[in-house]
Structure formats: C-alpha cells, structure tokens
Symmetry: C2
Subunit: 492 residues, 2 copies
Amino acid sequence: MFEALETGKRLDKATFDARELVLREQLLQYQFRLVDHKVPTIIVVAGVDGAGKGSLVHQLNTWMDPRGIETNALWMHSDEEESRPYYWRYWRCLPRRGEIGVFLGSWYTRLIRERLEDKTDAARQARRLAQINDFERLLCADGYLIVKLWLHVSSETQHLQLTEEAPRQQQNPRIEADASAWQKVYPQVLQCAQEVILASDTAHAPWHLVEADDRNYREIACGEILLEAMRGHLEQPRPPAAEPLPALADTSGGQPTVLDRVDSKASLAKEDYRKLLPQCQARLQDLAWKAHRQRRSFVAVFEGWDAAGKGSAIRRVTGAVDPRLYHLAQYAAPTDEELDHHYLWRFWRKIQRDGRATLFDRSWYGRVLVERVEGFATNAQWQRAYNEINQFEAQLLEHGTVLCKFWIHISSQEQLARFKARENTPHKRYKITDDDWRNRDKWRDYELAVEDMVAHTSTSLAPWTLVAGNDKHYARIQILETLCQALEQALD
Amino acid sequence: MFEALETGKRLDKATFDARELVLREQLLQYQFRLVDHKVPTIIVVAGVDGAGKGSLVHQLNTWMDPRGIETNALWMHSDEEESRPYYWRYWRCLPRRGEIGVFLGSWYTRLIRERLEDKTDAARQARRLAQINDFERLLCADGYLIVKLWLHVSSETQHLQLTEEAPRQQQNPRIEADASAWQKVYPQVLQCAQEVILASDTAHAPWHLVEADDRNYREIACGEILLEAMRGHLEQPRPPAAEPLPALADTSGGQPTVLDRVDSKASLAKEDYRKLLPQCQARLQDLAWKAHRQRRSFVAVFEGWDAAGKGSAIRRVTGAVDPRLYHLAQYAAPTDEELDHHYLWRFWRKIQRDGRATLFDRSWYGRVLVERVEGFATNAQWQRAYNEINQFEAQLLEHGTVLCKFWIHISSQEQLARFKARENTPHKRYKITDDDWRNRDKWRDYELAVEDMVAHTSTSLAPWTLVAGNDKHYARIQILETLCQALEQALD
C-alpha cells in the first residue's frame, strides 16, 4: 500500500505558488459556502510521526478563515477524559454546523496505540473498528463532511525529521523522544495503519493517502483533496431540508401493543410502601457509595407518559443518593448550541465521571418519541436513531457503566384523573400545560412509538423496564428495586 | 457566634407540615417568577460535616421544580480543574439566567481547607477573601441572586451523625472517614468559619446562619430564607433593562490619546524581517515546549483596529507553536447559551490547561470597546467591566499563567488603504464588510474607548503592549519578541 507513496513526488516553489494562489481563493469560497449551508466539517490529520501533520494544520489555518476552524489536539488525555466513555472526548469538541474541526489525534489513535503496545486481540480490534465506522456513519448521516488524510513519509525521511537533519523549513518542530525508538516501530506502524485504513475506508468517509516527503507537494495535495471533498459534498443530491412527514396512520387496527402487557392493576398497600421505601433507599444509598468506591458510573433513563410520575419517582431515587454522587440532567427544548450539533451531543455533554450517576429526566429517546410523533424529526432521522442509540448505549456499557431505562406506563384514564387533580392542587398546577392536553389526543401515536422504541432498543445488555405506574407507590418501588438489582449484579 | 445557634430550636411534625404546605407553593411561585425575570440564582450550602447539607439539597429539589435546578457537588477535583485557574471550575457550572445552581462545596471550600491544613498565611487568606467577595459582587452586579446558607450543629449532634447513632431519618448518609477525626477539628472549623463568614457577609450576598440540629427546623428555616431572598430580589428597584446610552460626546476636544504615542513610522526592512521572523519563531517554538514541560500556561490577547493585521500576526504566532500546544479562541456574536451567562463566561470556558497556550482573537475587552461604542452594553455594564477584567486577569496570573495583551494600532489613513487593497484581492475580499466601513465613522469613539481601556487595565503585572502596526513586518516581530520575552522572564 505505502510503496505507491514513495515515488518522489515534489513541487518546486514556482509551481507551489501558482497552485496555491488558485487553491487559496477556492478553499475560502467553499469554506463560506459550507457556512451558508450549515455543513459541519471534520478533518482528520493522521500519519506516521515526522510526516508534517502539524505544519499541514498551520497551512490550512493560513489558507482558510481561521475564525471558522477549531484545531483539536488530542494527544494527552486528562483524567476527566479517561473516566468517561472513550468517545466523550470527541463529542465534546465536535464542530458546530458551519464550522471546521481539525483533529490531530483522533478516534483512530487508540486503536493504533493498542496494536503497537500489543494490548489488543482480534475481537477487540474488530469492535474498535466497528465503533469507528459507526461513529463516522452517524455523523455523515447528520450532514457532516469528513475528510481523512493519512500523511506518509519514508523511513529515511522520518529519520531526517526526527533527528533534526531535515532542511530547516521542512523540520518537524516536535522532537520529544528518542528518534531511534520511532524508527524501530516504523514497520509495525505501517502494517497496522494499512489494516486500519483498509477497514475504515468507507464511501461516506474515505481515506486520502498523501505522499508527504516534500512539504510543498503534501500541502498542495491535501489542500486540493479538501477542496474536492467540499465541492463534492455541496454538489451531492440531498434530501429536502424538512422532509414532509406523512400523518402517522394507525395501521395497527387497534391491535394490542407491548404496553398492554403492563399490569394496570399492580399496586402496593400504603403500609407496605412505607416499610419498603426506606429499605430500598438505604440499599441504593449503600450501593451508590459502593459504585463510587469501585469507580463505576451508572446511568438511569426516565421516560413515560405525561403525569406518569417521572418526577416523583426520580425524587425517590435522588432522595437515596448523596447529592455529591449524582447529576440530574433534564431536557426541554434544545439551545441553539445544541441544535447546531448532532442530537446526541446534548446528552454526551452531561455524562458524568466514573463513580457517579447521571439521571436523565427525558433523554435521547425523545428522538423516537416526541420528535417522531410531533414531526420535529424527519422519518429518516428518527428511523436511523434506533441504531445510533444502540451504539451510544453500547459505548456506555463497554466503559463499565450500569444502565437502566424506565418507561413509566399509566392508562389513559389514569392520566386524565391526574391531570384534573393537578389542576386542583396549587403546588402542582404548574406541571400541567395546554401541551399536555394536546398530547393526549395523540395517545395512540405515542403508543405505537413506544412499541417501536422497545422493539428496537430493548437489548439484552440494555433492556427497558416497563414500569406499572397506575399505582405510584408500586412504580417507585419497582424502579428502586430494578436499580438496586442492576447495581448489585454489576458491582464486585 | 455559634453559641446563638445551639438553642434547641425544633419543629414538631404538625408544625412542619403546616408551614411546608405554604412554603412549597410560594417557593414554586417565586421560582417561576425568577424564570420570567431571567434571574439566575446561586444557593451555597455550607456548614460543618454532619449538618445535613445533603438532605437539605434533596428537600429543595423536592419543594421546587427540579427542572430548573442544577446541583453542583464540587467535593473532589479533577486534574482538568486543578490545572486551570481556581475559579474555572465554578465558572463552568454557573447557572444560566432563570435557573438555580445549588453548590455543595463552593469557592469557600479552598479557603477553609487551607486554614485547617495550616497551609496559609494572613496575606494569602486576605487575598482569597478578596477574590470571594469580588466574584460574588461581579455576579450580583450581573443580576445574580446569591443565597448563602451555613448549617450549624453542635459537637454532640455531629458526633451522633458521624457515628450513625442519630435517629434514622436524621442520619447523614455519608460516613466515609473516621468520625473521631472530624470531631477533633470541630473547634478549628468553627473558628475558621467564623472569620470567613464575618469577612464575606456582604450586603449583596449575606450569610444566613441556621441551627441545624433538628431536621424539620433546619429545612423549613432554609426554605423560608430562600423564599425571602427571592422575594426581596424581585422587589428591589432595578435599573431599566436597556439603559439608554447617551451619544458619546467627544469632550476631549481633539486632545491626543495614548495611541498618538505609538510610533506611526516604525518599520522594518524586508530583509531584516526575513531574517528575524524565523529566529523569533524558533525561539517561541522552543519556549512553548519549555512552558509545556514546566506546566505553565500562557494567554495572549489580540485586539486592534479592523485591518490592523490581527489575523496575520496571530498566524505568525501559531505558525511557531505546535498545534498540540495552543488553542485559538475566536469571538464573534455570542450564542444564546453565552448570552444567558455573565459575559466573562464565554472566555472562561476556553481557558486551556497548564502547559498550553490560549490565543484570543478578540477577547473580554470587547465589553469596553465595541460593546461600549455600539451601545450593546449599558454604561453601568462597561464601566464596571474594567474592575471585573482586572480581577479575572489577576486570577490567571495568580495561577501562574503568562499573560500578554496586544493592541495593534494603525493610522486611519493606513486603514483606508488596506480596506481598498482588500477589496481588490480575491482571497482577502471576505475580510471586508459594510460594518468595517461603518466602524470607520466612529474612529474617535473607539480611540477614546481604547484610551480608557489602557488607563484602566494596563497594570504592572498585565500591561498592554501597543503595537506599531502601520508596518506589518514591524508589528509581527514586535509581538513575537514581546511574547518571547514574557515567557523567558517567567520560565525557569
């Protein structure tokens, strides 16, 4: 693979200048067109050490308007990064729509490092690759343009670079470690890079291999590749911005759904509740501290009908967990910064460190519930969300997070009764809005959405718990019990 | 001080229930009124260990709508926090306008800890206290409501709590360490707390001392204090939202300003520039790596007239620094999340870790430049900004950050010439907008704003460098030289 990149390609100064003049103007033009189209762009700059990745990044910043470019150098990791799922570090620096994120050090780094340090096996390697491809596919589906550059230099050039023997203006400014160490692993790096590149060279995010011995050549080549990618992205046929959503016809003909299997009569006598609640809470309290000591995080998702008792159930959970140990993330309409990112970004940014809990009062499932039913998401968007969600949760689990998902179910009659009761209680009146009444009319649509959600996302590792909510006491104990059991199973 | 808090105050269940009923409804009402008025609220929950701080936080979340409350438990510090100026950790979790941030562990923690560990002296203690008061004053001036609660329990109650001998529903869930250790420091904690409370009990952010032995009493008392504070905040006379800004009359009668002292003829021959540039850049490159090894961060602020050459000067700096070592933060119009915080928040969030550089292309000085001249900030806002900025920079310096501030000055004629040249160069045309032409009409207003800015914020530790920018080569070398000297002086 890399032999083809040692052919001695170079550009003299005059040719460089001439091509740069054209390239520069065009890059700028396309940068602004991408801003107009609100396209977020990701440029991955990878390659062997000494290949001039840093100087390429300088050059791109010079050619384009740096006001829309953010360079992310992820080469050293903080403990905040290490103590969250691996991709958290990338999610937190994804570019906004219309901006360009340059990544020096990327989601490829770990895979290659693990290989070089011989800390992996075929199965893990395959999983990492699948994650990379999933991540890139998810971004592309959301309109991201991903340009991946691999800079190759020959072993001799690398040696010159790392020993500072290269001509001045070609020099690699970062001479940290023993050059001979790099030289020794050069063949392994190439072998490993080849496998990774082949496995991640997808139609939506292809690799571009660039011969990098000559600085002039490599910079013009990369600039032109980028330009071509921008142009191609803007010219590709795209679906209309707001795909009209057909009214959701109920083709189910009143068939039962998975929700009908929830026992609407399940209940708990008040005296039993009074006895069980403090027991469950004490158990959860101990488990939360135990999880903290073992540096395990846990995530609980709370979804359910309006007035199903999400808030009061969450309070029974938070009432048991030391406030130092949990973070409650609550979701209403997204902010403009949130809208300018992939919809999962607003959830990633709230994931807590190891040893702490994150409770989600409404969650990423909004995409396939309210956004689907109300038409805030296009069909394509919510349909691919099942897969995106499963991958997201798989990452949490892989990191060692304990995950519980609750749908609190109440019957339509019960909801009506609660709405009326809320209107009559001063400190509860604020909880009921016109939206709640409107949503009741879409009961069946939501029912079908829940059924699809459970079908697509209740996996063996991350199952949904459908909570029988007509009796609040019963529901709360069921939730606390489920959480405790999940933690007990997971902790040593 | 604390003897008055050991009087045996308690509430029986019936009284608690009766007062809770009223309190709860009112708290909610006022919470929503604060949302309507976009008032951000900060609740500091402090007190000796075992005083029930955690359970109070639970209670507040139960009484009010938890959707608008974020609890921040800052009790363990991450390396990302430790490697940035101390207040960074608080800035990043300040509540947005209309929301409530509860702080368990706050800007008081360090001061008290240092005292207990005997790691401080009178001078440092005084500085810490001044920082606390500055921070709170700055927030209050921006419309924040700050409620500070100190929960006191007697030594005996603390003992019961920490040894789990308290009645069940009174228990402190967090029994971590040896209870006797806490008991031993109890007198010192009180002594220290007393001093801190006295010194930070300000009119805008007073302390509320609460006897906390009885859970019923302490929770009702704190709830009522909070309610009173909310009510008081809403009833206080406030300046009209958008204070009309009088046209800036030029009372200076064409007097010279500090900018007239910049040598408009300073220049550098092209051959000298060609020789000096790589020298300066190599020097800066080495210094940036040295700073990294010594874990020192540096911050450079770039301000100047439109077309003064900020962008190209910054590129000469970034061209010298490895992209892994710097972050370029660029500022245009704020996002809605940014508008919903104090104006300094958007700068705090970009401050990089120890060992890295943050370059600001436009900065917090926008408040006293463009926002002042264009009337985006009220008189009161920009006038108090000088002080806020000086305090902010003092924190950077205290943390060990090397700070350089550049105003790149060009003459009005030079600007005109550059505007015209930009219009004639394809890849520079994007840099010139109608706004730039409009701003030229306000040249004198900006000149006066710059003069005031320099007068107020050029301190001995954080001086402004007024760069002679008519000759771009001269300006770039001056900037690189200044940065290098500042780093050389600061590094070992």
